[in-house]
Structure formats: structure tokens, C-alpha cells
Assembly symmetry: C2
Homo-oligomer: 250 residues x 2
């Protein structure tokens, strides 16, 4: 069974997760130094966003490092990895993603769900609903509102927490997912907005759209994200892999 085809597949796959994903992240962050070792012992790391981050977390389990509170998505894979591999760092992880949220809804709960926690690292993935809800739920937002609201949110964050380090994920919509149709072409504008904001705020930027687009060469959308928005276990692995690479640049 150790055929030539298997060998070639293995090489391609090892290259994909072992090199392609990290290289996409490196390419998006070449202007940032590699500095992960400066993340202090006891640092607080906060994950914020929508359902992709929420991933079914038990909101009553809101304490740091609580397993039930981490959900079942990319956040859990990252936190499991870092708590397991860096025990003496005493990192404090929180997941405060809430399903369905757009930027203005993060702003409404930002005192409780970000500023009070005083994160040293804020990881933010937001934007898909800022678009999606305009086509399916009558939301009146635009890409300009998304960009303006996100800048305001980050300015407010930096004012309250001048030392906070930022990781911003690219909002994505994966072609072939059951929720994605031609109307989603207009979503393309949200991604450069997020990228530009990341650059302006000195944030690590995680090019999730590029990563999923590359992943489609290996398996269909259904494998990585059945609806094109929410990651499967396999898709969560790609996101976690990218995040852990970006983390080295924080």
C-alpha cells in the first residue's frame, strides 16, 4: 500500500500543511519581526469574533483556560496545543466569540468581553456576518461601515490597552460551500479592508481566504467548510496551523 501515488500524495500534503500554510502566513507578515519568545509568562490571550470563533462554546464556562468555554473550533485546537506544549508559561486563554456577531455588536460588549479582561494578545476574526446579514437578514451595513467600525474598535482598544498585540484573521467565504452563491462576490471587498486595517495597526494578519483557496486543491469545500463559512475539524486545523505560525510574529 506504500505506493508511488501514496508517496507523491504524502509529499504534497506534507508540503501543504508543513510549508504552504506557514509560508502564506509568513508572506502576509514579512514586515513583522519573528518575536514569539517575547510573549510574557502569564500573558492573557483573548479570542474574539463570531460563530467561527464561538464554535458552540458554553458561555457559562467563562473562566480562563476552561475547556467547556473554548468551543470546538480553531480556538480549542490552538489552546490545547499551547497549554499542552508550554505549561510553564501560565498563559490565560479566553474565548469570547459570539455566533452571528458583526463589528458593531463586538463594540456593544467590548467593555465586558475585551477591555475588562485586559488581554496582552487580542485575536480577532470578524466580518463575514457584516456582509452575510446584508444579503440574508436585511442588515444595512456596507464595507465602509465595516471598515470604519473596525478601526474605531481597534482605536478604542489601543487607547485602553496601549501594549496589546493584535492578530487579525482575514474573513473568508469558500467557493463551493453550501451558503456561498454569486451574491458573495461583493464580499471580496471586506477582505482587503481587514488586511489594510491589520497593516495600519501593526497586527499579525492571517490570510485565511488564501489558505482555504489553496486547500481546495486537495479536497472540496465540503471537507474544509461545508457551508463555506464555518470550518470543519479539518478546516479548524488549517486555521490553527496558520494562527500558530502568525503567533511567532506577534
Amino acid at each position: 500500500m506504500s505506493s508511488r501515488r501514496d508517496f507523491i500524495q504524502k509529499t504534497a500534503l506534507a508540503a501543504f500543511t508543513g510549508a504552504v500554510v506557514p509560508n502564506l502566513v509568513k508572506a502576509a507578515n514579512g514586515h513583522l519581526p519573528s518575536t514569539a519568545e517575547t510573549i510574557a509568562t502569564g500573558a492573557t490571550i483573548l479570542f474574539q469574533g463570531d460563530s467561527i470563533t464561538d464554535a458552540g462554546r458554553d458561555r457559562g464556562q467563562y473562566y480562563a483556560n476552561n475547556g467547556g468555554g473554548m468551543g470546538s473550533g480553531y480556538v480549542r485546537h490552538i489552546v490545547t496545543h499551547l497549554l499542552g506544549s508550554m505549561p510553564q508559561k501560565n498563559f490565560r486563554f479566553y474565548n469570547r466569540g459570539i455566533s452571528g456577531h458583526k463589528v458593531f455588536q463586538l463594540a456593544e460588549r467590548w467593555d465586558d468581553d475585551c477591555l475588562q479582561l485586559r488581554p496582552d494578545v487580542l485575536s480577532l476574526l470578524i466580518g463575514v456576518n457584516d456582509f452575510w446579514h446584508t444579503i440574508d437578514y436585511g442588515y444595512k451595513g456596507t464595507v465602509e461601515i465595516y471598515e470604519t467600525d473596525l478601526r474605531k474598535l481597534l482605536e478604542r482598544t489601543k487607547k485602553a490597552l496601549p501594549q496589546v498585540k493584535l492578530i487579525i484573521g482575514e474573513p473568508f467565504a469558500v467557493a463551493g460551500g453550501s451558503a456561498i452563491d454569486e451574491r458573495w462576490e461583493a464580499f471580496a471587498g471586506y477582505r482587503p479592508a481587514a488586511k489594510k486595517i491589520a497593516a495600519d495597526f501593526g497586527a499579525v494578519f492571517l490570510p485565511y481566504q488564501s489558505i482555504f483557496d489553496e486547500a481546495l486543491k486537495l479536497a472540496p469545500a465540503e471537507y474544509w467548510t461545508p457551508d463555506g463559512v464555518h470550518a470543519s475539524m479539518a478546516g479548524s486545523y488549517l486555521m490553527a496551523k496558520a494562527w500558530l505560525e502568525g503567533w511567532k510574529r506577534i
Copy 2:
């Protein structure tokens, strides 16, 4: 913040997860060749056991590779890793651990929860309740019953599925966990029983007790397994790391 102490800690930790855990697994399986690449495309991998494997899985989500059905423990971390990093293998993963179960209870549901699934790889972690329930729930088992029942279960499995490859985890109880007291000294006999059976059946053996014992040098039991039996996220990472090393020998 990139102090000398941080450097030393980093080195020690990198050695622990990067080398100590894999080396403990290698040492326990030196007699087996390194053959992971022979695991066929489309292989079915079944996780069986008790609550450590179950980890709160949604039993209604029993389809292969279903995220909700994987629970939140070591199984989820392994499956996420392998689905994400080896997409073209089309592996089919099932979790059929059930909380509280002992070997005889696996035997009762073995037709439905193992043989019908026709696994190519069976990963089995069982034994802690075979002891625990004798001290806390009036169960009348002994280590001899555990060993006899487990041998019978594996003989039955090999008879129905002669080609099945086996991974057997060492049942463990971590000193300092809230459920562990002096009565647990008698549990020590269950571990060599599992190890001997693994050797007799040509199974990969995962020395979880040794791994957790080593991990206690870096952080207390509460960090890895608060009650000494059920792994935290950090503990699940160690188990997954060991499993993925053992998997290379299957």
C-alpha cells in the same frame, strides 16, 4: 522578557513535548517497525474506551468524522490533526468511548460499537473504571478479571477482523489529582496487565502513566488532569502527541 530563565524553560519544554513524549512512546514500542505510511487511504480508525475517550461526545452524532461526535478530549485533537494534515487519505474516524465503562461493558456493545464498523485501526483505552468502581461503586472486579476480559475482547476482535491494527493506551491515575488517594496504589497492577496484553497482541502501547508522571515535573496534576483520571486540554495534548507518535508504528 526574553530572559535567560525563559530560554531555559523554553528549552526544557521543547525537549519535553518535542522529545520526551515521543521518546517514551518509542521506548515502549521499539520492537515494532516504523510503518505509518502503510495505513491505507480510506482506512477506518475507531477510538474506544471510557469517559476519557468519550469526553462529552454527542452520541447522536455517530457518523464518521462528525465534529460533535468526537467529544472534546484527546480524540478530537488527534482527529482534527489528521483530517487537517492528511486530507487525501479519506480516513474515517469514529469515537465510541462511553463514560464509566469497564471492559465487560465494552464487550456487551462490541458488535455495534466495534465489529460492525470494521475498523482498520482500533485504539483502546480502558481500565481505570475496572479499578475505580471497586473502591467507589462496589464493583467486584479484580486485575485478573480485567486482564481476562480484555484478552477475550481482543481475541474476539482479531477473530472477526484479522487485519485490525491495535493501539492500546496505558490506563493511568495521576498522583495529586483530586480523586486519587492511597487506595489507588492497588491500581498499579492494572498497568502492566495492559502492557503485557499489548505486547501479546502486537499492539502499539502508549505509556500514558509515564508521560503524565514526567509532565508532573513541569506543572502539577491539576494542570494536566484535575481529578487524576480525566485529562484537561493540556493533558489531552500530551495524550494526542503520544498517540500520533505511536501511530507511526502501527
